[in-house]
C-alpha cells in the first residue's frame, strides 16, 4: 500500500477536543480491573526476600 493510500485511511483526531474527550470518558475510571485483580492475587502470597 503506498503512502497516499495510507493517508486516505488515516483517522483524523481532533487534537483540540481530545483532552476534554479523554477526560470525560476516562477520568477517575479504573481502566484495567483484570490487572488490578491480578496484582491483588499476587500480593496475597508475596513476600520480600531481603537477604
Amino acid at each position: 500500500m503506498n503512502k497516499a493510500k495510507n493517508k486516505e485511511k488515516m483517522v483524523t483526531v481532533p487534537e483540540a477536543g481530545l483532552v476534554a474527550l479523554v477526560a470525560f470518558r476516562l477520568k477517575g475510571v479504573a481502566l484495567f480491573p483484570e490487572k488490578l485483580e491480578m496484582a491483588k492475587e499476587f500480593l496475597k502470597t508475596a513476600k520480600l526476600k531481603k537477604a
Binding site: N6, K9, M10, V11, T12, V13, E15, L18, V19, L21, V22, A23, R25, L26, K27, G28, A30, L31, F32, E34, K35, L36, M38, A39, K40, F42, L43, T45, A46, K47, L48, K49, K50
Partner: protein, 184 residues
C-alpha cells in the same frame, strides 16, 4: 525514568489519592490514544503499592484494551513515553512501590492461548506468554547500573504459589518487577 527524548507528549488528565492517569497519541497509519494508569492496590512492606496499566483507548466504543497490537511501528517511542511517566508517579506520591506485570502472564491468558495454539508449544511453556514483562525486564537489564543510582528494583519469578520478591538480578526471568525510589 531514563529521560528519553524521542517520545510523545503526554497529558496528565487525572490525579487522585489512588489513581494517576495520562494519555498520549501514537501517530502512524492510525492515530491511537494510549492511556497510562497507575492505580493504588494495597500497602506492601509498609508502603503504598501502585500497579502500572497501559492500553489503547477506542474512542468509538469508549473501551480501553491492553491486548491490542497496534501497527504504528513506533513501539520504542511508545514504550519510552510510558517510562517517562514513572518519575511523575514518584514525584506525586513519594515513598511508594511501583509494580509491573504483563497481562499475558495471567493464567487465563496462557490457558486461552493454549486452546488455540498456533506456535506448536505442546506441553512446554507457552511461547506467547510473558512477552510484555520481558520488554520491561530487557529495559531494566540494559540500563540496570544507571537506573540503580536512583531506583531499587526487585523481581519475582512467581513459582507455584510462592511469590518471593528478591533484589533484581540481571537476566533472571521475573514475571513481576517492583520499583522503588532510593531517596523518595
Amino acid at each position: 525514568m531514563k529521560n528519553f527524548r524521542d517520545v510523545y507528549n503526554t497529558h496528565e488528565f487525572h490525579i487522585a489519592n489512588d489513581l494517576l492517569q495520562f494519555y498520549f497519541l501514537s501517530e502512524g497509519d492510525k492515530n491511537i490514544v494510549k492511556v497510562v494508569q497507575y492505580q493504588y492496590v494495597k500497602d506492601f512492606d509498609g508502603r503504598p503499592l501502585f500497579n502500572l496499566g497501559f492500553g489503547d483507548f477506542d474512542m468509538e466504543s469508549g473501551a480501553v484494551s491492553d491486548e491490542e497490537l497496534s501497527n504504528n511501528k513506533d513501539h520504542y517511542k511508545v514504550f519510552h513515553t510510558v517510562l517517562n511517566t514513572v518519575p511523575r508517579l514518584f514525584d506525586a506520591y513519594g515513598n511508594i512501590i511501583l509494580m509491573a506485570q504483563g497481562s499475558d502472564s495471567k493464567k487465563e491468558y496462557i490457558d486461552n492461548c493454549r486452546a488455540s495454539c498456533s506456535k506448536k508449544c505442546g506441553p512446554g511453556p507457552c511461547k506467547n506468554a510473558h512477552r510484555r514483562i520481558k520488554i520491561y525486564r530487557s529495559f531494566v537489564d540494559k540500563y540496570f547500573e544507571e537506573l540503580s543510582e536512583t531506583y531499587i528494583f526487585m523481581g519475582s519469578e512467581g513459582v507455584g504459589n510462592q511469590n518471593f520478591m528478591e533484589f533484581y538480578q540481571k537476566g533472571k526471568k521475573y514475571n513481576t518487577v517492583l520499583v522503588m525510589k532510593k531517596n523518595p
